[in-house]
Amino acid sequence: MPRGVAIAAASELPPGRYPHMTVLDLYEEAVSLLLREWHLSPRMIDGLLCAPAGMARGEETDIFTHERLAYALGLRPTFAETVNAGGATYALMVQRACWAIKEGVASAVLCLGAGKFPSVSRGGADAMARMVSHPHFEYIYGAYIVPLYALIARRFMHERGTTPQEMAAVAVAARQWAMLHPHALMRGAGPLSVDDVLASRPIAEPFHLLDCSVPCEGGGALVVARDDVAMEINPRPAHILGWGEFHSHGYVTWAPELATAGARWSIEQAYARAGLGPSDIRVAELYDAFTICPIILLEEAGLARRGEGGRLFAQGHCSPGGPLPVNTYGGLLSYSHTGDASGLSMIVEGALQVMGRAGARQVPEAEVVLVHTYGGMMAEHSTLILGRRR
């Protein structure tokens, strides 16, 4: 009988600014939180996956993060590495943990992440531009992250008819959810309207300031475990029903499918492994560096018909109380974007929804949740499908 794997535990630091901490300090802070919130002991854990500390800051990237944390935790794992795929890093960690567990290489894998978003105003935009654009054929034209995504957005709008108002509605829905999350960074800023988003200053058209995610710092942790071990930690774990992975392009200019960035190839694998389809999904947690992204992903996941993803947001379908809740923690747009750790936030939320631990924002029907993350300039994709029942 094939063994099942589940997310047994999930914790995340409140996103914010931690000026007195290094990224490695933030990793340890995330572990401390996990140990306070869940009953764990070192004997349970035989796998450890981390992201390279300091990655997005482009300074002193530590590719031995897993060794330092194994030492700090007193672990001698049989399965460990430092892995990176940008925002897709953590969903890929969960997949790799699944493989290791199904192969019997490990029984419970600690997946950790922490990050600090670089300061955009103090040279950070240029440093990140050098990291994500082709040095001789893109960077020299003033490309950086926001306009590179704007090129994807404009092409998608051209092909599918999405409007700036519909994109603004994504930010409005994210803020509505953030108002229900005690740790969402923009909770205190109050509700947003479509007009607020459209009136915020233009960054790279079609994106205004409020079409962009909110940079901050944070971190978190997951325990991915074989079903029997997971049940010892948590009687209601989030079973991992399916997963998919796809790497589409190296640079935006030469993306074979610019408008959709190849997301569906990852999502289709996840549906196939789970034996499920779009009609089974009750909640979607979709990586939202910019407002266009959840619209693209809704359509690519078959959760909206072609050209109708934006309309679902505009009509409130994805807001609290709507038939298809999306980004129930406020998303990177209003919960905030923790740099290297951003891809962890939507997995933590998806798992908490399935476990029934999402507090005021709990969606009662969250039986099956689709989580989609991507990294780089929407270049690499990783999808998870989590469920209450195996």
Partner: protein, 142 residues
């Protein structure tokens, strides 16, 4: 970064920049499968053949996607803001990133017909694109 960014002209892309110095736009063509591509590579990304040749491009293409950038990544580009960052699809097939110059940013649109022009960055002429007049008339007619 405050100075003008300049591409590296060494290595596999050398002939591309050498042609640019002569005011010509060139691309690589695979002698195995015929695929035409940019930026320059050591092998064909479709069939991995390493027998490649350089072909002259017409310099004409269409805007595949674009954005008007208001907040730039550096002082050099902030002085040019708002500027148009675009992906241009050449008649021969390959795509290039460039700025669309010599036109009001608000008039740029997807499928606009453009042609190459070269902007000097120090010693290096960098390909940029500017609307072809006929393309503009087509746009007005639509």
């Amino acid at each position: 970064m405050t100075g003008a960014p300049v591409p590296n002209q060494e290595g596999v892309a050398g002939p591309f920049w050498e042609a640019a110095r002569q005011g010509r736009l060139v691309a690589q063509r695979c002698q195995g499968c015929g695929y035409i591509f940019l930026p320059p590579r050591r092998w064909c990304p479709r069939c991995w053949a390493s027998q490649l040749e350089w072909i002259a491009c017409s310099g004409r293409g269409r805007v595949y996607s674009f954005t008007v950038v208001h907040q730039a990544p550096s002082h050099f580009f902030q002085r040019r803001a708002p500027y148009v960052l675009a992906i241009v699809e050449l008649e021969e097939g390959p795509r290039l990133m460039a700025n669309i110059v010599g036109v009001e940013p608000a008039r740029v649109h997807i499928d606009m017909a453009v042609q190459v022009t070269f902007e000097r960055r120090g010693e290096v002429p960098v390909p940029q694109f500017t609307p072809i007049d006929k393309g503009d008339e087509d746009a007005e007619a639509r």
